[in-house]
């Protein structure tokens, strides 16, 4: 049965948390993609999902911020504290969004609409005091999925409230595009099947959906029909899995308390794993030696891993211990209690039998993350297949974003996709980081050039490097010219050039190119 739920949503939260002013163009960029923007940046055309460079091109004054979930969660604790005045049953799913069941509070405050109105004005005033008016939405509907959609709509409305009457969730959801279900692959298939709205998908029979899309399809079908996203197998655990840690002497700092949390989080995770369960909702209780107590419920879409649990405990601690002085506890943290509130059968993460994710991967991932901490996120890169004609285009360096087992072999396109006119294998091993201008000369010492029809003016016989140290080297063999006219439909990225492969007398081999009448070394076969 659906639980009538109120959802508070701040879509721009990662930006708000940076304490930027509301009229500044700010974007949060993770792994080279925009993940959140400020309204001023959106007005300039910066959208979620853009590459960093495209975002900067659209808005040159864009202020770029690195993502920091800890900061987001710490600042969001103050919002959660505001909502605490209405109900004790606040569930946080991620920084920027929280939910609570409205059954009790709405009776007390005189109905869903007055309650939502109060919550919205309270938060809007709090955010407004730092300049962020109109950044929050409050939605009430049957089930968390519909309420979240309602909250998204409410952000732009005056009053920031959108209440869907009881029993109307399915009707409310039906005009949304299927992409809001949050599964891009499924949305793509449905779209190509001609099912463009959630209502079209919901109209299918359950049996057909299960036959075609399996368990996950059934789950999404339930969402589409406005039935709460909690599968029926989810429920409170049959026996207690509570773990607690008494910290003596009491911890004054977040990191010390978080260290204690790590041990019990591992313990909790192991015990749940042993029963084949995964935690989807977790109650974290923190007590201080002065008797203060902070409880928070954390919800997770999938299953909380042990590091996920520690993260949430740390966010909660951080928000409390380093929060506004009025809410800060007077004593040190003396007790931590983790209560898995809701568990479901773990679908599990199948570790590879041959290879797959191993301990070595975990170790390497940690070391690389540490290096990223030293040098910055962009300093660690991994190869990503892109496809192209030149050696620099086929595979590029993409920022390293942790080790994910499921991304697997499918990263990018295959190396052997057809690219007519590409440079033949073996490919060169070095790409000069700075342009290396050269001259290609014929037997009489005159410059060689390539005509518009792609023919050489004379046989190349010597290469003259610009720096005196290398001087002139004679050519033993050559092939080409291989003309290459790429992206002629786009003025900005259009490139027209011709390549030559050269084997030099000193044993080196080069791939050189002529572009707009001047020769340069494109790549070196080392």
């Amino acid at each position: 049965m659906n639980v009538r739920t109120l959802v508070v949503l701040c879509p721009d939260w990662p930006v708000i948390a940076t304490a930027a002013s509301a009229d500044e163009a700010v974007a949060v960029i993770a792994a080279n993609r925009v993940t959140a923007t400020s309204p001023a940046a959106r007005a300039e055309g910066v959208e979620v999902g853009l590459r960093r460079r495209d975002a900067q091109r659209r808005c040159p004054v864009l202020h770029i911020v690195d993502p920091d979930p800890d900061r987001d969660a710490r600042v969001f604790a103050s919002i959660a504290a505001l909502v605490d005045r209405f109900t004790p049953r606040v569930e946080l799913s991620s920084p920027g969004s929280l939910a609570f069941p409205t059954l009790g509070p709405s009776r007390y405050f005189g109905g869903d609409e007055p309650l939502a109105g109060l919550v919205a004005s309270e938060i809007d005033n709090a955010l407004g005091s730092s300049g962020w008016f109109d950044a929050v939405g409050v939605g009430v509907a049957d089930g968390i999925f519909a309420a979240t959609r309602a909250a998204e709509l409410a952000v732009a409305r005056p009053g920031h409230v959108s209440v869907i009457p009881s029993g109307q969730s399915a009707k409310f959801l039906s005009p949304f595009p299927v992409s809001v279900l949050g599964r891009p692959e499924l949305a793509d298939v449905l779209y190509r099947l001609g099912l463009r709205r959630i209502g079209d998908f919901a109209a299918l029979s359950v049996d057909d959906v299960v036959a075609r899309f399996g368990i996950e399809g059934r789950f999404l079908h339930r969402l589409a029909r406005g039935i709460d996203d909690r599968p029926s197998s989810v429920g409170p655990p049959s026996r207690s899995f509570d773990v607690e840690s008494v910290i003596d002497p009491p911890a004054e700092r977040v990191d010390i308390a978080a260290f204690a949390a790590r041990a019990i989080a591992d313990d909790l995770h192991d015990r749940l794993c042993a029963e084949g369960l995964a935690c989807t909702r977790l109650l974290v209780v923190i007590e201080t030696d002065a008797g203060e107590r902070l409880e928070r419920v954390w919800r997770h879409e999938g299953a909380l891993s042990s590091t996920g649990i520690v993260d949430r405990v740390r966010w909660q601690l951080d928000g409390w211990l380093n929060g506004p002085s009025a809410q800060r506890p007077s004593g040190g943290v003396s007790r931590l209690l983790l209560v898995p509130d809701e568990v479901m059968p773990a679908r599990g993460r199948q570790h590879g039998f041959w290879g797959g994710e191993t301990e070595a991967d975990e170790r390497a991932g940690r070391a690389l993350a540490r290096v990223q901490g030293m040098l910055g996120v962009a300093a660690v890169t991994v190869p990503e297949r892109r496809g192209g004609r030149g050696p620099a285009d086929v595979v590029v360096r993409a920022p390293f974003v942790g080790i994910d087992g499921d991304d697997g072999q499918g990263r990018g396109v295959a190396l052997d996709a057809p690219w007519p006119g590409r440079v033949p294998s073996p490919l060169p091993t070095l790409l000069p980081t700075e342009p290396l201008p050269i001259q290609v000369l014929d037997a009489r010492g005159a410059s060689v050039w390539v005509s518009g029809r792609g023919t050489l003016s004379a046989e190349p016989s010597m290469v003259r490097f610009d720096d005196a140290a290398r001087g002139d080297v004679s050519i033993l063999g050559w092939a080409g010219p291989w003309p290459c006219d790429e992206r002629w439909w786009d003025q900005l990225t259009h490139r027209r050039r011709a390549r030559l492969q050269l084997a030099l007398a000193d044993g080196r081999a080069l791939l050189v190119q002529i572009e707009q009448g001047s020769w340069s070394v494109e790549a070196i076969y080392d």
Partner: protein, 240 residues
């Protein structure tokens, strides 16, 4: 166990012999070996990359050789991390059949923190490919070498066409020379394979210099033993 020549085994008291048996390490350093591709085994005095060792590679073709040396390790699940070498083409790494899932490039830029980076990587990844153009102080070199021996990672120092960093004392040093490309005519064909000579010298069992002729890359962009060498067999390589 090899006993000192001054004490023939018959003279050694049995208790001492027993003791020698007992203190012998279970795995000798040269038995902890990471595999290399079959054609490259002849370059290695112990048939593979010894854990905790430093290998320097220089000459024209050094980059290709470094990649090929780490291929077998990468395929058997080891991580390969390249520090520096910003001009290394990522496509060459995949063409050398390294596992794309277990490779990362680190650009220390001019932060001057490459020693810290190396210290963080040693022990966490199996193969570290280091750009010889990154300068190391002799004291750093010694510290890293002892850390390598302790943690069992392998450091491959590459100097594409240049000189090797003198502050790292190599256990094995490979020099690629006499590169000759095949497949390229005057105005036709394309580069297909390269015939190179690889000179090997180093410490311990590798102190005797040896030479090997290889196709690097061979026709299929991999590495192979040069035909000429297979036929006459005159070239000296390590016998095991």
């Amino acid at each position: 166990m090899v006993l000192p020549a001054a004490l023939p085994s018959s003279v050694v008291p049995p208790s001492l012999q027993e003791l020698a048996e007992r203190i012998r390490p279970v795995v000798l350093a040269r038995q902890a070996v990471v595999p290399v591709l079959e054609p490259l085994e002849r370059l290695m005095p112990d048939g593979g990359l010894i854990r905790g060792s430093t290998i320097t590679i220089g000459g024209v073709g050094a980059t290709s050789l470094a990649l090929q040396l780490s291929t077998a390790a990468s395929q058997s699940g080891s991580w390969v991390v390249v520090v520096g070498l910003n001009d290394l083409a990522p496509v060459a790494v995949l063409e050398a059949n390294l596992n794309a899932e277990r490779i990362a490039f680190i650009d220390p830029g001019n932060s001057g923190r490459h020693v810290d980076v190396l210290a963080a990587l040693i022990g966490a990844v199996d193969v570290i490919v280091l750009d010889a153009r990154l300068s190391l102080r002799p004291s750093d070199g010694r510290r890293l070498a002892s850390r390598l021996r302790e943690r069992g990672s392998i450091l491959i120092v590459v100097s594409p066409g240049g000189t090797v960093n003198p502050s790292l004392s190599a256990d094995l040093s490979l020099t690629v020379s006499d590169a000759q490309w095949e497949g390229l005519g005057c105005g036709y064909g394309h580069l297909r394979s390269r015939h190179v000579c690889v000179g090997v010298n180093g410490r311990g069992r590798a102190s005797r210099t040896a030479r090997c002729e290889l196709l690097l890359p061979a026709i299929d962009a991999q590495v192979a033993i040069a035909e000429s060498e297979r036929e006459d067999g005159t070239v000296v390589a390590f016998s095991r």
